[in-house]
């Protein structure tokens, strides 16, 4: 109930949030309609490919919100957030693998194809239970959450901060990538998990299911946005921002800095896991490449481009940068890395507040309201 009233106040007071949520609802209605109802030869028709692509962008947007919470609001630059995303994706992938049943190439009712190929005879213990949707969904949030809890507990307690933390998060995702590349791990090794057939009984290849997944992604994006907004506007959110701006002072005032950091980190990891779980069925594959350190760093750029410390910025950044990526890799793949590299440099030097920060500045100038400098003044 409190949540509901929070949404009401949010809609009433925050114009940007209101328009964002309205856009999401509009997208959720218009895109599936144009895909399913409008005939294929009409100019208003949206192809299934586009629907899937948009769905992918939006699941990335959830991931970007997750990173923005820890980086933009708490000043923890995690270079391993793709690890939580991939773990969520793998949990979903495991459920989807079990759904294949005996329709695999080898026709084994229990074992996924790659296990038969490795001549394993029974399902490893950690694959047990993944045939149940609720269990898999629980794992989608629990596995990344647990990893974040253990890792964060160790790191924050011993006050590993700044670049040190960034580098060990990077080492974490690198180690996980190496581990998942191993066939012996039982996660499909190099090829990862793929060849999914259906989800909850719906055929994954059909347009209806795709549209359903798209709507689910939008729903979770909206939910993630509202909940994150709630978190950052709560008292906890204020403390978290205080930690970002002056960690030592917050500690001396009497807050347990470690616990606040830990909880925001775990919450963010869970969000990333959900994003991964939405990503896997739409893209149709999850492999160890998702753990690669490059992915985590690209993710940081989405948030930096969009504007960190503003949840909306994370969403905008994820969509804009990924749209640019699709665009560039489409007609000249070699230009993409030049562009991405230049984007990194340009944004850090000239646009520290990102697109949304810039827009805010411009708006403020136009309204001639002489407020103080933007809030996220380079403190990290």
């Amino acid at each position: 109930m409190e949540n509901r009233s929070f949404i009401m106040t949010l809609l009433a007071n925050d114009k940007a949030a209101k328009w964002f949520l309205i856009t999401l609802v509009a997208l959720a209605i218009v895109v599936p309609f144009c895909n399913l109802m409008v005939p294929a030869d009409s100019p208003f028709h949206v192809s299934t490919y586009t629907v899937t692509l948009l769905g992918k962008y939006l699941s990335y947007a959830i991931l970007a919100i997750a990173l923005d919470l820890v980086w933009g609001y708490c000043g923890i630059l995690s270079l391993g957030h793709a690890a939580f995303f991939a773990l969520g994706g793998y949990a979903m992938g495991m459920y989807l693998m079990r759904q294949i049943g005996d329709r695999g190439v080898y026709g084994n009712p229990d074992l996924p194809d790659f296990m038969v190929f490795l001549s394993w005879t029974e399902l490893p213990w950690y694959w047990q239970g993944f045939d149940m949707f609720w269990f898999a969904m629980l794992m989608v949030v629990l596995v990344p959450g647990m990893l974040a809890y253990v890792f964060g507990w160790l790191a924050f307690r011993s006050r590993v901060t700044g670049v040190y933390l960034s580098i060990i998060t990077q080492a974490l995702t690198f180690a996980l990538m190496l581990a998942f590349f191993r066939n012996e791990m039982g996660f499909g090794g190099n090829n990862g998990l793929t060849d999914f057939k259906d989800i909850l009984g719906f055929d994954l290849q059909s347009d209806n299911t795709r549209a359903g997944l798209f709507i689910a992604t939008i729903f979770f994006l909206g939910l993630a946005y509202v909940v994150s907004k709630f978190v950052v506007n709560s008292k906890m959110g204020r403390v978290v921002v205080a930690i970002r701006d002056a960690e030592a002072r917050t500690r001396f005032v009497g807050y347990k800095v470690e616990s606040f950091k830990l909880w925001i980190f775990v919450f963010s990891a869970m969000l990333a896991g959900i994003a991964g779980a939405l990503y896997t069925p739409q893209v149709g594959i999850i492999n160890p490449g998702e753990f690669s350190p490059l992915n985590s760093i690209e993710l940081v750029v989405w948030v930096a481009v969009g504007g960190r410390g503003t949840l909306l910025g994370a969403v905008v950044g994820a969509v804009v940068v990924n749209f640019a990526k699709t665009f560039f890799t489409g007609f000249a793949p070699e230009i993409w890395l030049f562009f991405l590299g230049a984007l990194f440099i340009f944004v850090t030097i000239f646009l520290p507040q990102g697109i949304v920060g810039l827009a805010q500045q411009l708006l403020e100038k136009r309204n001639k309201t002489k407020t103080a400098t933007p809030k996220a003044e380079a403190s990290v």
């Binding site: 590993v160 670049v163 080492a171 180690a175 581990a179 191993r182 760093i297 944004v347 850090t348 380079a378």
Partner: protein, 543 residues
Amino acid sequence: MSIERLCRLFFIPFMIFVLAGAAKASDMALAEVLEGLKDDSFNKKKEVISQLETIDDPRVMKVFQQMLDGDLHFQEQEPQLLVFTAKTDDGLAVTAVVSGETLGVVNKRDLNKVKVNNSLRKDLRAAIAKLSLNNKDSKVRRDAVRNMLRDIDSESVVLLRDRQSIETEGLVLDVLAVGVAIYELGSDDASLRLAAVDILGDSLESAARNALLPLVEKNENGQYKLEDRELRSAAIKALARIDAKLKYNEWAETIYFGLSLGSVLLLAAIGLAITFGVMGVINMAHGELIMIGAYTTYVVQLLMPNSIEYSLFVAIPAAFVVAGLVGVAIERGVIQFLYGRPLETLLATFGISLILQQLVRTIFSPLNRSVETPEWMSGTFEVNSALALTYNRGYIIIFSLLVFIALLMVLKKTSLGLHVRAVSQNRQMARAMGVRTGWVDAMTFGLGSGIAGIAGVALSQLTNVGPNMGQAYIIDSFMVVVFGGVGNLWGTLVAAMSLGVINKVLEPWAGAVLAKILVLIFIILFIQKRPKGLFPQRGRAAE
């Protein structure tokens, strides 16, 4: 292999000399005997081989060797000359056996192969061994004896004994003794057998161990097959002695590999220890500077294809300068605007690393390039028969230590080093004292980058040179610097070497990938425990 190489080195000039002397008579005799090799019958060839053994001619050795390798052919058409062949891209390069003339490159179909079967191969090996037993080079003699150890019969043991009586070289005598002992294990005289076991127990030759193993074999009931209890217990003791020594050697080898991996890590990380440790700048493009060094080596070798042997001596300064200049450009162009904002520096330099990678892909192609290894770097140093250390790893260890010492000297003894340390300790104060901090920053960054370039030269000798090679080292390098303690060069040295050794010690029982994962987890846990590394900076500089 070494026999073959030796043939090429010594016999070809010698052959030319012989031909120049127009030793027509011996040519005729040799050619006549060789005619028999064209026969299809293996028995006929067997005869020819035993005839050839008696001819004292250096060409015989080459004929045997090439025949064994399947490189001896004769022409399809008249005059059906016997020829040596060597594979080229266009076909087979042909050289006449007797006259030594090169006859150009021909198609495989125009030649008939001199076929060999297993029994002939055995004969050929024995014949080669016999010839090489009397070679001038003691290494060739030793290898020849080793080849014979595989199966010693009453004939070959005579050869060994003959050689034993005239041999002077200690190392060759050792192997000869092993050969004779292996034969004597089968003798009827109990005391001879015991003595043989004793000799074998002192040797690290794998053949010696293999010869002892049947003596301690058990049957299905777990009882020893060998009845002679005395001989058996002697064999068990001898085997234990060998195994203990082998284990010792294995450890020595692991440590050597570990140190060489450690020195690779040291080279990769030491430049970072300067930029990250001394300046506090996170340079994610460090791996790409290593890559630039490796590509510089590649370009240098392209520019001087005829003197690969010296190319590395040109490549080292070239790589230092190229990578150093790129480093200075990065510092002046990007990093100087971001001092005091480490996380932003991290992102910007990551962008630079992407651009550099793509640049290399565009210029050189995304495929790996092969960098040649000079002759003097290849080969192995044999400590004993069970332990052979490759030269290139040894050179890398020495080289990394030299770079380390040089860097230490630059920081401790030069005015640049003094300024660098001053700026890193207190930027404001240094500036007040008249140090041009901007210039010092650029130089320090250039120095660190230049050393990354030198690391690239060394790495080009060990791994593939490709656009992604830098990424493989960046995380490891950071781990080393953080593990050792930021701002402490000695810490970097200790960290690199210990991580290298730990990795190699773990590898045999955990596998290469798992060992790496374990090391990463170890470091992650270690940093939690001691966030400032093994050797933290103390005092004011720490904050």
